[in-house]
Symmetry: C2
Subunit: 162 residues, 2 copies
């Protein structure tokens, strides 16, 4: 049954490269799943919440809604509701933009900053354990080079989960 598909696979993609691709997917999935689990268990924080806090912090503590939406790779409506939840939890606040009255500025609160600090330890420990400690410095250099080739350098950010 699968002969046709198998043939078309190897015509287009050498087995070696297909194995590399699948390994890439497996590694991504297993590492992020583990990071998600650890952060949720030890800090009660979803990785997606942590990512919002990181983005805001790296932007200097505040950000416009549409900019946040594009860094998170979320639609605007999803971002609105997402931000609502974090605001209800006291991690950030929304305010009208000073220069453009259509706009909204999202700002990290002290509590949000504190939550970020406490979460960062857990998260970075996880990235170290599940990624950094496993690869050598030479591997890391190579990955930087490879990943830069694979990710479109011009266009915007991306879901970081830094």
């Amino acid at each position: 049954l699968t002969a046709g598909i198998v043939r078309s696979v190897s015509d287009q993609l050498p087995a070696l490269k297909l194995r590399a691709w699948r390994g890439f997917l497996e590694a991504h999935s297993s590492i992020t799943r583990e990071l998600e689990r650890e952060l949720r268990e030890e800090r009660g924080l979803p990785l997606s919440w942590y990512d919002v806090l990181v983005q805001l912090n790296e932007a200097g503590g505040e950000m416009r809604m549409h900019r946040l939406a594009s860094s998170l790779l979320l639609s605007r409506s999803a971002t609105t509701r997402f931000v609502e939840r974090l605001e209800r939890a006291g991690l950030l606040v929304r305010d009208g933009a000073p220069d453009d009255r259509r706009g909204t500025v999202v700002r990290l609160t002290d509590q949000g900053m504190d939550t970020l600090r406490r979460a960062a330890g857990v998260h970075l420990r996880g990235v170290k354990r599940h990624f950094g400690d496993i690869i050598s410095n030479e591997d890391a250099e190579l990955l930087v080079r490879l990943m830069t080739k694979l990710a479109p350098p011009p266009s915007g950010e991306g879901a970081s989960y830094s």
Copy 2:
């Protein structure tokens, strides 16, 4: 404000490895997003549906529900509803398992097999363009080695999006 965080980052994770980690996330995100877009535009098929078809095909055309759930990294209830949708679309059917009357077997239909064949071309072309063509054979060998170290080889499958 961020001094404490920045310090704790570099204590745990050398800057080089952190850059490798972020590159890894960016590359994964941008490639899978593009593959999703292409498959949806050219075949009207979500990547997650394609993944179900691939899993079933690689398992010889049929699979038990709980096994499918674990290959897809979905909960059982999510898998039930997911399979319902694909069944409504005519891509697969459900039947009682012959040996265990608690169980359900999911089986690819001819239409499902046909959809898989037509989707595979588009998808594999994408993996080739956005991944295979960009890396050398040496890079691929290295990635296989690295990704195998990063993904726990013993435990189960993973979301493939093959």
